[in-house]
């Protein structure tokens, strides 16, 4: 513990204010002291305060111990106490590189949009693409379907794996997906087949995006969607090779932000 305190003079924090979740990571000399995640709720500013507070508490630190704070994510502009803002693409890249330096392609399945990027041997982003202005290709659809099927979001992955016979899912719209799912289930379709179909459809969109920036064998799936083992399986099936899912895939941008905070001078 004392050791930690000692190193605390060099502490940095990364905060990722996502559309659905806010995450914070506190880092000291390349060691993760603590991390925390909470739902963003309606008020980003409030979420930022809360998530950092909780992460500090876990690390037994106070705001004064933090040398530098970098904010990222869609709500980054709402973090008044951040020293700088960095794009989520750059942060994710650094975060993944920190844990898995061999990774070259990153697929981030976030709540509202998906992002694909490539990093070079130094962990720098060399190319990236974002899914468009339609939430159809993001993790949101998973949430929607989980609600329709009345299962917890953590359960949809395992359930999907049971499917022998994935259906073809037609609707791309994250909102109308609900309606289609409801009527397909009403027609008597098995939940797992529906899920597997949705996973395939989403995976194929992700794969196309990834191939556009150049998909390599060393590939990581991150973001909330990466916690979904059904989606992972579908992506791997389409890509034809394995993908790494880092521990706590949702925290990658926050981690990277903390790393960037540490790099950028005193």
């Amino acid at each position: 513990m004392d050791e930690l305190r000692a190193g605390a003079t060099g502490c940095t924090a990364g905060i990722d204010i996502g559309a659905s979740f806010s995450k914070a990571v506190i880092l000291s000399d390349n060691r993760i002291l603590s991390r925390h995640i909470i739902p963003s709720g309606g008020n980003y500013r409030h979420a930022a305060e809360t998530v950092l507070g909780a992460a500090l508490e876990k690390a037994k630190l106070s705001r004064h111990d933090i040398r530098k704070i970098v904010a990222t994510g869609g709500g980054a502009a709402n973090v008044p106490f951040a020293d700088t803002i960095s794009s989520d693409i750059a942060c994710q890249g650094r975060g993944v590189f920190f844990l898995h330096p061999s990774v070259r392609t990153i697929i981030d399945v976030g709540d509202l949009s998906s992002k694909v990027s490539r990093i070079d041997a130094n962990g720098r982003t060399s190319a990236f693409l974002l899914s468009g202005k339609c939430a159809g290709g993001s993790a949101r659809i998973l949430q929607v379907i989980a609600r329709v099927l009345r299962v917890k979001i953590d359960e949809i992955g395992p359930l999907s794996l049971k499917s022998q016979n994935p259906v073809r899912f037609n609707t791309q719209c994250a909102v109308f997906a609900e309606t289609e799912a409801v009527s397909r289930i009403a027609e008597g379709l098995a939940k797992e087949d529906l899920l597997a179909g949705i996973h395939l459809a989403l995976a194929s969109q992700l794969y196309t995006l990834a191939e556009r920036v150049g998909m390599e064998q060393d590939c990581a799936l991150i973001g909330g969607g990466a916690k979904d083992i059904g989606l992972l399986k579908a992506v791997q099936e389409i890509a034809g090779h394995a993908c790494i899912v880092p521990d706590e895939p949702q925290m990658m941008a926050a981690l990277g932000a903390a790393i960037i905070a540490g790099e950028s001078g005193a």
Partner: protein, 268 residues
């Protein structure tokens, strides 16, 4: 929503509106029964039954399924013979229908791929803001200064609205901005037809006075709204049922037992 209208000759004997859940078949049966009870009729008294709408195939006891396009056209014509364009704002899609003096559709367009610009968009926003769908119009009317909503996508817009609310943008301005955005999308969809007067706005969206007003502003003239806009499709279906029955002549229609076929899928 599931709606039932029973007509006798020219008059509407009774109508009922119920919520459409996932169990459409079960519901359709229930709402029809309710309407029959209300009218003091039994199923045998119904000479012909037409089902319409997104879930029309899930009405096993109907004599015929007819698309909502023909039904809305017919229904609106019965209410407003001078109508030439129908804008139907439903939860599942938005339609523009051009009709002739007989209530036959001559051309139509629809948006059913993207929830933005449909009634569903408003539902999602209402849910996000913790409002009832019925209150949206009133809330929007409070605003003199609608906020510009930059996202088109329903999901993005909901997010945008939530975060701007937390930034202190007045609720009314946001809701008014949302109405503006829906109205623009609707006009964009429907203007693929050359819109001619009179224009009638139907479907659940027409219950939203603020939306109707914004649409009229964009059209540059007033639009007509039926007294119960949710019912135009059902009324049209009933009219078409009567038309068919009359055309066939009494006794010609096959009388088969109507199977209410109650089915439940969620036993959990």
């Amino acid at each position: 929503m599931t709606k039932v209208a029973i007509i006798e000759e020219e008059t509407i004997r009774c109508s009922v509106i119920g919520h459409t859940g996932p169990e459409q078949r079960k519901l359709a049966g229930r709402v029809v029964k309710e309407a029959l009870d209300k009218a003091g009729l039994s199923m045998e008294d119904i000479s012909y039954l037409v089902a319409t709408g997104y879930g029309r195939i899930n009405v096993p006891f109907a004599d015929k399924q007819i698309t909502e396009i023909s039904c809305h056209a017919r229904g609106v014509n019965a209410l407003f013979p001078e109508a030439r364009t129908v804008i139907d704002i439903g939860g599942q899609d938005v339609k523009g229908i051009k009709i002739d003096g007989q209530g036959k559709p001559v051309d139509f367009v629809m948006n059913d791929k993207c929830a933005a610009g449909t009634g569903r968009f408003l539902e999602v926003i209402a849910e996000t803001l913790g409002l009832q769908i019925e209150d949206l119009s009133r809330t929007a009317a409070e605003s003199a200064n609608p906020a510009r909503i930059s996202s088109l996508c329903t999901v993005f817009a909901a997010q945008e609205v939530a975060s701007r609310l937390s930034e202190g943008v007045p609720l009314g301005d946001l809701v008014a901005g949302i109405h503006q955005s829906v109205a623009e999308r609707i006009i964009r969809t429907v203007s693929r037809l050359s819109i001619t007067r009179e224009v009638v706005i139907t479907g659940g969206g027409a219950k939203n006075g603020n939306l109707v007003k914004m649409l009229a502003d964009k059209l540059g003239y007033g639009a007509l709204v039926p007294p119960e806009p949710l019912l135009s499709g059902a009324i049209g279906a009933a009219m078409l049922a009567r038309d068919r029955f009359q055309k066939a002549g009494p006794g010609q229609m096959l009388k088969r037992p109507r199977d209410f076929g109650e089915v439940t899928f969620f036993n959990a």
